[in-house]
Structure formats: C-alpha cells, structure tokens
C-alpha cells in the first residue's frame, strides 16, 4: 500500500503529456497515389473526414501510426460544398459571439519567442483578442473569456468546458474556440488576401457529438462564405474524433489560426477577414439584426467586397436574394440528424439496460412502461408493478 502511494506521488510529480511546444505528432495525409494532401498536428483515425481547400471530400482509409501517415480516399466533390451562394445562419438572438481559448499556452515562435507560454496570456490570447476587437468594430457584441485552462493536458477540455457552458448560457449565436496548429511547416498556412500576407485558418469539427452534423454544416457555411469573398483564407476542414465541447452548441467551431512556426503578425492580420466571415455567416451583412435581413452586397470600408457579395458557381447573382428557406432546410436536416442520433441512442440504451437488469426480453413493454412512470415520479401514471427489481 505504501509503495502504491509513493508510486502515485511520483507519477503526479513527473511531467505529464507534452505541451503544445511543437513536439506533437504530426500526421501526413496522402492520397491513394502517395501524394501529400496536407499535414495535421492531431491523431488521425480511420473514418475521419477531410474537406480540402478545393472542396474535395476525403475519408481516412488507413492509418500507419508508426510513420504517422494516413491514406485518404477521395469520396466526392459534392455540389453541396460548392455553395452557389453565401448563406447566413441568421440567429434571432442578439448579435453576440462567445470566444474562448482552451489551450492557454499556445503561442507563436515568430512573435512570442516560444511555441508554448504558460504565463496566463499566450500568443493565442492575442489572436482571440484581436478577433474579438475586429468583430466589435463590425457591431457584434463579443464575450471573450480569456480564462486560463492550464496545463495543456487531457484535462484542458474539461476545464474549458466550464467556460464554454457559461458562454453558451449567455445566449451566444456561436462559440469560437481559438487555437493554433502544431505542424512545423509554416508555408502550409501562408496565404495572400487583398495583397496582404496573412495566415490561413483551419476549421476543426469533432464528429463524436450529437451536434456534429450541425457543427459541420456551420463549418461548411464559413468556408463557403470565405471562399466566396476571401479565397485562400480557409485552409480546410478536418472532421476528427472527439467532441471539443462542440456538443454544447450547434454553432460551435474550433479555429486554428496558423501554426506555431507562423509569423504572429500575419496571424493577427487574418483575424480581420475571419471576423468578417463570421459576421456575415452568423448575422448577414453586418446590418442591424433587428431588421433580420439576409446577405446583401455591400462594400466594406476598405473598398473590399464583404463575404456576402458573390455570384455563385452557376453564375446566378445571389445578391440580396433571401436565403432563409434554404438555410432553414440545411439547419433542419442537421438538427434532425442530431436528434435522431440522440433519441436512437437513448432508446437503445434504455432497452439494453432493461434487458441487462432483468436478464431476459420477456415483459419488456411492461418494464419500459414502468420506466416511463418512474421517470416522471409517477406523475404520468403508475407503471405496471411486477414485484421485482429493475
């Protein structure tokens, strides 16, 4: 017993999992011909999906953990990913967005001097703060919670869950978790928009959550809007395992602003255009939300087209075209998927539990009836009594 306690103490004192210091495993994603598609500082699993910058949808077919390589199979290039028009999520709530930072140490070597800064305010906080300021300038109220969730270990998302829940309870239209990637090659993130050098943004969606379909829909809308107004801004969308606390809200997204080797100034520059994309997709063209108007053509203060003003691939000018019905059906489909999954799992769980606890399937309807009765404290009528235990 004493030895076990000493062992526990020793394990507690030893350094834990690696920090975001650029030492994370970087997976190379290749196509069937062995051509490199991209790389990502995250664990990749079979079944993960990847929507490339050109909207090609890939699925991870095999993974070789030893060499950190994953082979992608091109699934399709769905027209759905090539949205002919920019849509708006059109929230009925106040123009308000919640922003937080789960990995409170993530920083940029070229700007912060290190990839991981455990001081309570790291490079990624500067990015989140800049994104907040840009949105505020566009008339969006931002609740930026700079809460620190150190250390950068397996408990970070549990700690940031508190922050995310608190923001979600304030009725935000969306929750943004700001990160930076950990791939070594900064060039993968370099881009030029409107003559300015800046970094790309990678969108990350967790597929292990009931809101996954809705989160994915949101990510696709962000990419479509950005591709329309700021081509090259969105690097890609990675849909991997995990939930990243995205089950808390349908409009939750994890944004990777550059990587640890990116130039921080270029990263900060990308916050302006990303803020415009968020504003457009969530609230329309930046008009007063009380008007609840969909996207319209509008010139920004710098004379650049805002993310709402583009003709679609089919040449149709969508300027000023109401998109509500289309958006509603997209959201409805994503919501229906999530509800179906949750209800299905709940029903399966109840049946499985009823069978396990009684040891047989006979009399299952009666047990389910009693379950429903007990669930409501008997207020929905008494269930059949069988005299046994559950």
């Amino acid at each position: 017993m004493r030895k076990a306690l000493w062992l526990l103490l020793l394990m507690a004192l030893l350094p834990g999992t690696a920090l975001a210091d650029g030492s994370e495993t970087v997976y190379t994603l290749v196509d069937a011909q062995g051509q490199t598609i991209t790389s990502i500082a995250a664990d990749v699993d079979v079944g993960d999906e990847y929507i490339a910058g050109d909207d090609t949808l890939y699925r991870v077919a095999s993974v070789d953990a030893a060499s950190a390589r994953a082979v992608l199979e091109a699934v399709q290039e769905e027209p759905e990913y090539r949205l002919a028009s920019v849509e708006t999520v059109r929230t009925d709530t106040e123009k308000s967005i919640g922003i937080y930072v789960t990995h409170s140490d993530e920083s940029y070597e070229d700007g912060d001097g290190t990839a991981s800064l455990e001081t309570g305010w790291a490079g990624v906080h500067d990015v989140a703060s800049a994104l907040s300021e840009q949105l505020e300038e566009m008339g969006v109220h931002v609740d930026f919670d700079p809460a620190v969730h150190l250390p950068h270990d397996a408990g970070a998302y549990r700690r940031s869950r508190v922050t995310a829940v608190n923001l979600a309870e304030q009725g935000e239209a969306a929750l943004i978790d700001v990160h930076r990637d950990g791939i070594p090659d900064a060039e993968e993130y370099e881009t030029e928009i409107d003559g300015e050098s800046m970094t790309k943004v990678r969108l990350l969606v967790g597929r292990s959550n009931p809101n996954s379909a809705a989160n994915r829909q949101f990510a696709k809308k962000l990419k479509a809007a950005a591709d329309s107004a700021y081509p090259g801004l969105i690097k890609d969308i990675f849909i991997g395992k995990g939930n990243y606390n995205q089950e808390l809200m349908p409009h939750s997204i994890l944004l990777e602003f550059g990587t640890h080797t990116s130039n921080k100034e270029e990263v900060l520059r990308s916050t302006r255009v990303m803020a415009d994309v968020l504003n457009t997709v969530l609230f329309g063209s930046g008009e007063d939300t009380s008007e609840k108007q969909p996207a319209e053509t509008k010139e920004s203060g710098e004379g650049k087209p805002q993310a709402t003003a583009e003709a679609g691939d089919d040449g149709e000018d969508v300027t000023g075209t109401p998109q509500g019905a289309q958006v509603g059906s997209d959201d409805g489909a994503a919501a229906a998927t999530g509800i179906a999954w949750m209800v299905g799992l709940a029903v399966l769980g109840v049946i499985a539990f009823a069978v396990i606890s009684s040891g047989h399937v006979k009399g299952l309807p009666d047990r389910l009836k009693r379950f429903a009765s007990e669930l409501t404290g008997g207020w929905m009528g008494k269930g059949p009594k069988d005299g046994g235990e559950e």
């Binding site: 526990l8 394990m11 507690a12 834990g16 999992t17 690696a18 995250a42 664990d43 990749v44 993960d48 455990e118 001081t119 309570g120 620190v148 150190l150 250390p151 950068h152 270990d153 397996a154 408990g155 998302y157 549990r158 700690r159 869950r161 508190v162 995310a164 829940v165 309870e169 239209a173 967790g206 292990s208 959550n209 009931p210 809101n211 809705a214 395992k241 995990g242 349908p250 409009h251 509603g328 959201d331 409805g332 994503a334 919501a335 229906a336 999530g338 949750m342 709940a346 396990i356 009684s358 040891g359 009399g363 379950f371 669930l375 409501t376 404290g377 069988d386 005299g387 046994g388 235990e389």
Partner: protein, 231 residues
C-alpha cells in the same frame, strides 16, 4: 437560431435530465426525490457560481447540490464500512482523475472515447471494485473530479499560474455531474451482468408475476436497493 437547432438543444437537455433522474433513483432516493434533485442540479447550474475567494468559486447545480447529495448519501449509508469504502473510493478516484489528466493524451481525438466520460468510468471501476455499491460509485464519481480539480488548482498556485477554479462551473453539463452519473451506470450495468453471470440473481415468477431471486448473501449494491423500493 432555427427551430430545428432549438429542438436539438431541448432534446439533448431532456435526455440528460431523464438519464440523471433514473441514476439518482438508484441511490436510495424515491422517484420524486430523484426528480427534485435532478431539477435542482439543472436549475442550480444556471445560477451564477458563488465566489469563495482566492479565485475559487463554486456552482450550485454543478458542485454544491451533487456534493450535498454525497453528504446525504454518506449519512444514510448502511454501515460504517460502506462510508469508509466511499471515502477511500473518492480519494483513489481523485488521484486517478488527476493522473489521467496528466498522463492521457492531451487532444480529444487521441482518446478512444470522450475524455469527459473517462472520469466517470475510472470512478465507477474504482468504486465498484472497492465497494460494489452504486452509492460509493456516485460519491467517487462526483468527489473524484472535485478533488482532482482542487489538486490541480493547488499545483497551479504553487507554480504561480494565474488559473481560477470554478468547481462544477459547467452546471448539469459539468464533468462533476456527468462523472457521478456515469459511475453509477457503470456500476449498475457491470454489477448486474457479473451477478447474473455468477448466478447470484435469477428470474422467477411468484404468483404469476415476475420477480428476481437473490441467492447471494451480499450481492452487488443490494444494500441500497432495499431503500430504493420503499416508496
């Protein structure tokens, strides 16, 4: 937000509410007591956390109500042995959760399952091995996360990191609550399966009605089951 999205959120909350009520019902509480407690957890979770000073605050639904329930269950525990087991299970669970945070992969996609469920599973396994009791499992699940959070806050303070601690700040969706629920479910499911596999429980019919014949002197979680049926 569209009606579909609102429905999605509402359904998620209702399902969690239902699961929570069924879990609490297994803890020597009547159906209505369980309903009241789960309602308090949900409503309390929406209230602002109570500051305790020193950067520490506590959420009513996410920590205070579950903690109070743990105290209530400890007081009502059948034997001193059961209480001691619950305390030991809580301490071990706290250590396990703390170490899991340090030693498990730091990215969710590297985990075989959602990291928020890990703590409940750890607590459930520890509590079941120690006490084979649902009550111990719930206490270990709740206290394990609270103790681990407290330990991490101490470590951060020693290292001079400016981290605040909001115990159970996620309300009904916090790992504290989820861990307690999951530990009970694990204990219940695993316990039932093992007992039936070992022949400790058999289905019989008495006067034409279904019943369970318990043949073991001290089957898993049986102590608290006596109280569960007293409605």
């Amino acid at each position: 937000m569209s009606i579909g999205m609102i429905l999605l959120v509402v359904v998620a909350v209702l399902i969690l509410f239902g699961i929570g009520q069924r879990v609490l019902d297994r803890l020597r509480l009547t159906d209505r007591q369980a309903l009241v407690f789960i309602a308090l957890i949900f409503v309390g979770g929406w209230l602002p956390s109570v500051p305790l000073g020193g950067g520490v605050s506590v959420n009513i639904g996410g920590a205070l109500i579950p903690f109070g329930l743990c105290v209530y269950l400890m007081i009502r525990a059948g034997t001193a042995k059961e209480r001691i087991r619950a305390v030991i299970a809580s301490l071990l669970s706290g250590a396990a959760v703390f170490l899991a945070g340090r030693w498990f992969p730091n990215e969710p996609e590297m985990m075989p399952f959602d990291v928020n469920y890990l703590y409940g599973l750890l607590a459930g396994v520890i509590a079941y091995l120690l006490g084979r009791s649902r009550i111990s499992s719930f206490i270990a699940g709740v206290m394990g996360v609270l103790l681990a959070d407290g330990a991490q806050a101490v470590v951060n303070a020693v290292r001079g990191l400016p981290v605040t601690l909001d115990l159970g700040g996620g309300g009904a969706l916090d790992a504290v609550v989820l861990s307690g629920f999951l530990a009970v479910i694990l204990s219940e499911v695993v316990g039932e399966m093992l007992e039936r596999a070992a022949g400790a429980k058999k289905n019989v019919r008495v006067d034409g009605r279904e019943a369970v014949l318990v043949t073991d002197d001290k089957p898993a979680g049986e102590e608290e089951k006596k109280g569960e049926r007293q409605e």
